[in-house]
């Protein structure tokens, strides 16, 4: 009797061990499989995003310049140089000015277009396509067209303005007007994108709200907009502001093709300065320090954006 129990116990113990081994093997296989699936992405992420991000921060404390075999630790030298760099102040100022003009400009125009088009009974798709066209068109090609339109002798814009009595000048080559012209191109290019996001936001507002308001006696377009549309659209608006700001912060294409930062650094912006320092003058470490400044701005904006998305989730 005792022997039987003993054998039974031994069997149970063996079974338990087998259970544990099997569970851990299977567990191990599943874990390994998941890592295998994620591995290519993780490897590339490390090589192309996280590693370089760390490198850019480290580089900004050195005197590395491209092609050199060696580098020295220079602490905050690059940042100190930056504080004494007039062009840096210019490019920060210009970038902020660019963002400050393009964001409200493309926001208001995009929202206006979205409201007008959404309220139409016919022709919605047509107007939407028209306003969205610049988003699809290669910006470089269109920048060249804008440049042609701005040229003093052949351009439609100076020639039209000349008819109205303005001097026929290329406004892209005037210190005072070059940046505003770039802003106009920026607005032209991005308003369609914002319009589409707003249209999505508008279609998410339940019609019953408007019907309820109508029963409560508020029937003018003005009341409708301020009591329902605008508050309901607030999360989308915040979102559009942030992503337009992030995109505008990275303005580069038009500057590189149209003005090269000139005249007189009037259109020098942050990314263009990074490009010049890094790839024209090969002062990689200084460009890295500028990049760190750029990153700080972007991180602030993205944190605000993440907050907005959270709020949007709470909203619904």
């Amino acid at each position: 009797m005792a022997d039987v129990t003993l054998a039974g116990n031994r069997y149970q113990a063996a079974q338990k061990r087998a259970d544990r081994r099997r569970t851990s093997m299977r567990e191990f296989r599943m874990q390994g499989l998941a890592w295998m699936l994620a591995l290519p992405a993780l490897f590339l992420m490390g090589m192309l995003l996280l590693g370089p991000l760390l490198a850019v921060v480290l580089l900004s404390f050195t005197d590395y310049s491209l092609g050199n075999g060696s580098l020295d630790w220079r602490g905050l030298d690059n940042y100190q140089a930056m504080l004494g760099d007039d062009i840096f102040y210019k490019s920060i100022g210009n970038t902020l000015a660019y963002v400050g003009i393009v964001v409200p400009g493309s926001l208001v125009l995009g929202l206006g277009a979205a409201l007008l088009i959404e309220s139409l009974t016919r022709g919605k798709a047509f107007w939407r396509a028209v306003y969205f066209l610049p988003v699809m068109a290669t910006l470089i090609a269109m920048a060249i067209v804008w440049e042609f339109m701005m040229s003093a002798r052949f351009g439609i814009i100076p020639q039209t303005l000349a008819l109205l009595g303005f001097p026929a000048k290329n406004w892209l080559q005037e210190t005072a007007t070059a940046l505003p012209v770039l802003c106009i191109i920026g607005i032209w290019q991005s308003l369609g994108f914002n319009m589409v996001l707003f249209m999505a936001g508008l279609s998410g507002i339940p019609r019953s709200l408007y019907e309820a308001l109508e029963l409560d006696g508020g029937s003018s377009a003005w009341t409708r907009f301020w009591t329902i549309t605008w508050p309901m659209l607030a999360p989308v608006t915040m979102f559009v502001v942030i992503i337009t700001a992030i995109r505008s912060f990275q303005v580069f294409d038009t500057v590189h093709v149209l003005t090269k930062g000139g005249p007189n650094n009037a259109t020098m912006v942050l990314i263009y300065q990074i490009y010049q320092e890094g790839f024209d003058f090969f002062r990689s470490s200084y460009a890295a320090a500028l990049t760190v400044v750029f990153l700080v701005f972007i991180f602030i904006l993205t944190v605000i954006k993440a907050r907005t998305i959270e709020n949007k989730v709470h909203y619904s």
């Binding site: 079974q15 338990k16 259970d19 099997r22 569970t23 299977r26 567990e27």
Partner: protein, 388 residues
């Protein structure tokens, strides 16, 4: 078809134990339902049998083969899911063919376009197509083979899911609440169809449900699960008439079984309901009697306990009446009688309740069933005397 054996299976998710030492043997060709409230572990048990989930301890045997180390697809089982889980991008024929394609074609033969021209694949494909057609015919969905799941009704999707299961001729069918997404009428219809399918295929079916009607009507045996344990296994009749646990008694049966607190007279063992002799003798540990509604009789002037009619429902074929007992104000007794057999109950009127002594069950404080049988009534006093 095969025998499925579950031996001492346990499973924990983090700190919560979902299954504790569950054991169950499902015979070849048997239809067994796992039933219980949500969270009782029935779906987890099914998933462990299928191999989709791995048990922490215990053993699963299918046709005398231990399958614990086998992938789900190597266990030769088929599963029908609650949400049907049809591939939305494939038409009905391809959905049904999927398990066969995975079994019979190698990965090159499965390639889109080119695979068809590889050696051996056309014969295999023909065989698969034939089996798909046969399955479709059996389920009466031949006309739907070219459609995508999105174009089908709930009932049709259900059939396709069954088709995908039966096409690979599995050792056992696992069905995870397959009818719960259908509307009431269709559910009744599909219930019959699944039962017929089981009779026709003579295959082993393991059917998870929380719906007792499904379990009672289709199964050869029912395993009632509560809190990770299988607390009773038996035929539908056994489980209904002879529940071994108060939780089984309560879970099975609608309207619910009546539970009445009881005092057992020391010595004689007579069960007293609010002092009145119930006519049965029970074990001393009994704290509660259970009486199915159809074992309750209500009459206007004659009965064991008096009460007030609180609610009456006429369902056409039968009538439910709820009476609140005067002596036990916390107890509401439900009776069920065929329509037209009683007197017309008016809410608020006084009624007298009595019980069919042969069908009274007794439970102890832990909810376990204890012995209880009809006592012989004393001729003079109307009191019961224990048998031998």
């Amino acid at each position: 078809m095969a025998e499925v054996k579950i031996r001492n299976v346990s499973k924990r998710f983090g700190d919560t134990s979902v299954l504790e030492n569950a054991s169950l043997t499902i015979a070849k060709g048997e239809f067994v339902s796992l039933i219980g409230p949500s969270g009782c572990g029935k779906s987890t048990l099914l998933r462990i049998i299928s191999g989709l989930e791995l048990q922490d301890a215990g053993q699963i045997t299918i046709a005398d083969r231990v399958v614990d180390d086998l992938r789900p697809s190597a266990r030769n089982l088929a599963m029908v899911f609650q949400s049907y889980a049809l591939y939305p991008h494939l038409n009905v024929a391809s959905n049904i063919a999927m398990p066969l394609r995975m079994q019979r074609l190698n990965s090159f033969q499965r390639l889109p376009v080119i695979g068809r021209f590889l050696p051996g694949s056309s014969a295999a494909n023909d065989g698969i197509a034939r089996q798909v057609r046969d399955a479709a015919e059996m389920l009466d969905i031949s006309h739907l083979l070219e459609r995508k799941p999105g174009q089908l009704s709930g009932g049709q999707r259900q059939r396709v899911a069954v088709g995908r299961a039966l096409v690979c001729n599995p050792a056992a069918f696992l069905l995870d609440e397959p009818l719960s997404n259908l509307d009431a009428k269709l559910r009744v219809h599909m219930r019959t169809e699944i039962a017929q399918l089981h009779r026709r295929l003579q295959a082993t079916f393991i059917y998870v449900t929380h719906d007792q009607v499904e379990a009672m009507t289709m199964s050869d045996r029912i395993a009632v699960m509560m809190d990770g344990n299988i607390i009773q296994t038996g035929t539908p009749d056994e489980v209904y008439d002879n529940p071994t646990d108060i939780r089984v008694a309560e879970f099975i049966g609608s309207p619910k079984i009546n539970l009445i607190p009881v005092d057992v007279e020391p010595g004689r063992g007579v069960a007293l309901l609010a002092g009145a002799d119930s006519g049965v003798v029970a074990e001393a540990t009994a704290v509660c009697l259970g009486v199915r509604p159809e074992a309750v009789t209500i009459s206007p002037d004659n009965g064991l306990l008096a009460g007030t009619v609180e609610h009456a429902e006429n369902l056409g074929s039968e009538e439910y009446v709820q009476v609140r007992l005067h002596a036990l104000p916390d107890t509401l007794i439900t009776s069920r009688a065929s329509h037209g057999t009683g007197w017309t109950r008016r809410v608020g009127s006084t009624a007298h309740v009595s019980f069919d002594r042969d069908r009274i069950l007794a439970f102890d404080g832990a909810g376990k069933r204890v012995a209880c049988q009809p006592g012989v009534p004393h001729p003079a006093s109307g009191k019961a005397v224990a048998h031998g």
